[in-house]
């Protein structure tokens, strides 16, 4: 919120004027109302392995994170470039693999990668789109320094929080939106529906039927699944609602089986089809893979996209972008050591207390080491894990993430944040919702923003020009 000299940064000026004139007690009351609102609306997430208190709220902070129009222009150009490159990379990897032939990405990084799906070789997903929905995690370290921390090309979640956070702010502080010109985010669901419909498969005749596939009410992101289906007016289906009928994937309706054209699946590749992938899965649809190959259904995101957001591959993203777009990456990567490389590994082991080390296949902030925050014992234990399986890890410097204030009992206090903008891709083009989901580490000094680790969220404002 403040620049280097402690002055209020321009995008925050109007908000700060408003805030200064407000009674803290009133804001505190509003914050409590927001919590009650989240509870009655059921905006909760399930925490695995905790039986009774199995539904939790993600802490919501009432101070918005504000991005100026010009900052957003820059960011969105970089994001668009990145998503186009990811999609081109996926197409290439599952076709001619020119980037491997050119030696820009090592072959074994693909061939020995669990996220690589050989069955996708030669497949053309409808509309040529692999990553219908992606989320690009961005951090800021200085006035004009943004880095991409991570790409999410499988099933990025959190968009419902982006939408509900805005809804909540509009209900709590309507007067604020009259003062500050904030760009809309509410058209995300309709854009999602349009975008998915534009990718309908060849077998679709007429208006495409879109459905959202969820693992069910006990999944941690169930709220989001039902929210998106509801907002799109699409059916929310589970594996046992579906079966293959006459060469199409069909859902069991009260009037018999009805074919689905586009399936926005929120289950992982492994669980999609027990006949072709994991035989013990009950979440997917037996035979869906064959229907997919025959052009009978669109699966969003396409199977096999995980190869693009693999953390080991991440360090090659600048090369990948250049290879496919012919341009330098507009948004830089965080410098990354690949522990599979002996020289890199040595440096990482030497500097362990100052680095962040992540599992290549991990997510949700689990299984990572934040060097500066770890005890000697934790570092020693991690060193052993790293030496045993160096290929499973990457390391990055601990960034001095920007902070944004949160509202606490004792007034405003700085906390570290990141940002996940959501990107939709279809043959009709790329749509990036202004802003995205801002995640905030609610504990002082903490760098971990994941909701599974106690992180919270904020409304994100992109200002009008």
């Amino acid at each position: 919120m403040q620049g280097q000299g402690g002055e209020t940064r321009a995008p925050y000026r109007e908000f700060c004027e408003w805030f200064a004139a407000e009674e803290p007690a009133r804001i505190h009351r509003k914050a409590q109302q927001a919590e009650a609102f989240f509870r009655t609306t059921g905006i909760t997430f399930a925490v695995y392995g905790q039986d009774e208190a199995d539904e939790r709220l993600i802490p919501f902070d009432v101070v918005p994170r504000i991005i100026s129009a010009s900052e957003w222009r820059r960011l969105s150009r970089g994001i668009e470039q990145r998503v186009r490159a990811l999609n081109a990379f996926l197409h290439d990897i599952y076709h001619r693999q020119e980037i491997l032939r050119a030696g820009r990405v090592p072959v074994e990084l693909i061939s020995r990668n669990e996220a690589f799906l050989p069955m996708m070789m030669g497949m053309d997903p409808p509309g040529g789109v692999y990553t219908h929905i992606s989320g690009i995690d961005i951090v800021r370290t200085g006035a004009n320094e943004f880095y991409v921390l991570e790409d999410n090309a499988r099933t990025p979640s959190g968009v419902s929080y982006m939408l509900e956070n805005r809804e909540t702010m509009l209900q709590m502080f309507p007067e604020l939106f009259a003062k500050v010109p904030v760009r809309e985010v509410g058209d995300y669901p309709i854009n999602l529906l349009r975008s998915l419909s534009a990718c309908a498969p060849p077998a679709c005749g007429g208006t495409p039927t879109v459905a959202v596939l969820t693992p069910g009410i006990h999944n941690s992101a169930y709220f989001e699944h039902s929210f998106l289906a509801d907002q799109m007016g699409a059916e929310l289906v589970e594996g046992h609602d579906l079966r293959v009928v006459n060469g199409r994937v069909a859902m069991r309706t009260t009037q018999g089986y009805k074919p689905i054209d586009v399936l926005y699946r929120r289950v992982d590749d492994d669980f999609l089809d027990p006949l072709n992938f994991r035989p013990d899965s009950v979440l997917g649809v037996p035979g869906i893979w064959d229907v997919y190959r025959a052009g009978g259904i669109t699966i969003a995101n396409a199977p096999g996209t995980g190869i693009a957001d693999d953390k080991a591959l991440y360090s090659y993203m600048p090369d990948i972008i250049e290879f496919y777009t012919g341009e330098k990456a507009l948004l830089p990567n965080v410098p990354t050591w690949r522990c599979s490389d002996p020289e890199h590994l040595k440096e990482v082991l030497d500097r362990l207390p100052e680095l962040v080390v992540k599992e290549v296949h991990g997510s949700g902030g689990y299984g990572m080491l934040v060097g500066p925050a770890a005890s000697k014992k934790e570092i020693a234990a991690f060193r052993a894990k790293l030496e045993a399986n160096p290929r499973g890890y990457i390391a990055q410097p601990t960034l001095s993430l920007s902070t944004v204030p949160i509202f606490t009992r004792s007034g405003l206090a700085p906390r570290h944040v990141d940002l996940r903008p959501f990107v939709l891709m279809s043959p009709a083009g790329i749509i990036i919702t202004p802003g995205g989901l801002t995640r905030v580490a609610m504990t002082k000094g903490s760098l971990v923003v994941n909701s599974s680790q106690g992180g919270g969220t904020k409304d994100t404002w992109v200002l009008e020009d």
């Binding site: 009655t40 059916e235 309706t253 018999g256």
Partner: protein
């Protein structure tokens, strides 16, 4: 709509109706237990039979038919899947599954009801708090109903939910009659001693209709009239005839909407025609007990047929 979603709406409504019915049974039982301690145990036992939970109770607590034990069993005992707490939880789970078909208002009402009741029923309810807790259950249920009738589109989903409500309600009223039919037997009434006042009041209280009865029949209390009121009287929203009329409406809507006649539709019509379009005297002549047993069976068969016809499960 998905068969599963239709099933979830139907079960959501059934469970909500069940929680309200159980609250009413507890209320009636509690009243007797307070005023007539000598018959309390028998009364609690018949409440358990009506709720279909007597054998589970016996398994868990033997013959301990005391007020605190039975009330706790019906409200929140984990050993009882029909306890109000677990029934409301199931209603909410079904509402979550069918969330996309519910308006925000209905979902929030169901969710709030679950949050409120799981708070109130966290611990065993003290006897002097019981009236408040039962009032809260009634109130939550009224809020869900209000949101439902006030905001839901009158589409297939609405009709499936209503179907669940009336199937459950008819089942409940018939069970009350089934357990208490011996009080209404002509042999008792004919002797000239009118039925025990407290007993008939309990029956009527179990369906929240003791005042309505008085409005209609004045001070005349007879077995025939009470049975007529609960079975055939169409303006009484918990009578069998009322429920079956509504089921017929809902199934009629679904059949017209889908352009397809179903076995369930035919069965519902048959129930109205054969069982509810005859004078009360003829029902007594054929045997009240047999009549109720037959009705319960037909109602259960209809419920099963609805699940099949509309593909709730594979």
């Amino acid at each position: 709509m998905l068969g599963k979603t239709a099933g979830s709406l139907y079960w959501m409504a059934r469970y909500l109706e069940r929680s309200e019915n159980n609250a009413r049974l507890i209320e009636a039982g509690f009243r007797i237990a307070l005023t007539r301690s000598n018959t309390a145990r028998a009364e609690w036992r018949s409440v358990l039979v009506t709720a279909g939970s007597d054998w589970r109770f016996a398994q868990a607590h033997g013959e301990d038919y005391t007020s605190p034990r039975v009330v706790d069993f019906l409200l929140r005992d984990p050993a009882n899947p029909s306890a109000i707490l677990s029934v409301v939880k199931q209603a909410r789970d079904n509402a979550r599954t069918a969330r996309t078909y519910l308006t925000r208002e209905v979902w929030e009402a169901v969710n709030t009801s679950w949050m409120t009741l799981s708070g109130l029923l966290k611990r065993q309810v003290r006897e002097d708090d019981l009236p408040d807790v039962l009032a809260a259950i009634r109130q939550q249920s009224a809020q869900v109903r209000g949101a439902f009738t006030g905001t839901m589109l009158r589409n297939d989903g609405y009709n499936f939910a209503r179907l669940g409500t009336f199937l459950e309600r008819a089942d409940n009223t018939a069970r009350i009659l089934d357990v208490k039919y011996f009080l209404l037997l002509p042999s008792v009434a004919h002797i000239g001693s009118s039925i025990d006042n407290v007993q008939w009041e309990t029956i009527l209280r179990s369906v929240s209709a003791h005042r309505a009865y008085r409005w209609l029949y004045g001070t005349e209390i007879s077995a025939l009239k009470i049975a007529e009121f609960l079975i055939l009287y169409k303006q009484m929203p918990r009578s069998l005839a009322f429920c079956c009329d509504k089921m017929n409406d809902n199934l009629g809507w679904l059949q017209r909407g889908y352009g397809e006649e179903t076995e369930a539709g035919r069965m519902a019509e048959a129930i109205c025609r054969d069982r509810l379009s005859r004078p009360i005297q003829s029902i007594f002549d054929g045997g009240l007990h047999e009549y109720i047993t037959d009705f319960l069976r037909a109602n259960a068969a209809l419920a099963q047929q609805v699940e099949r016809d509309y593909r709730f499960v594979e």
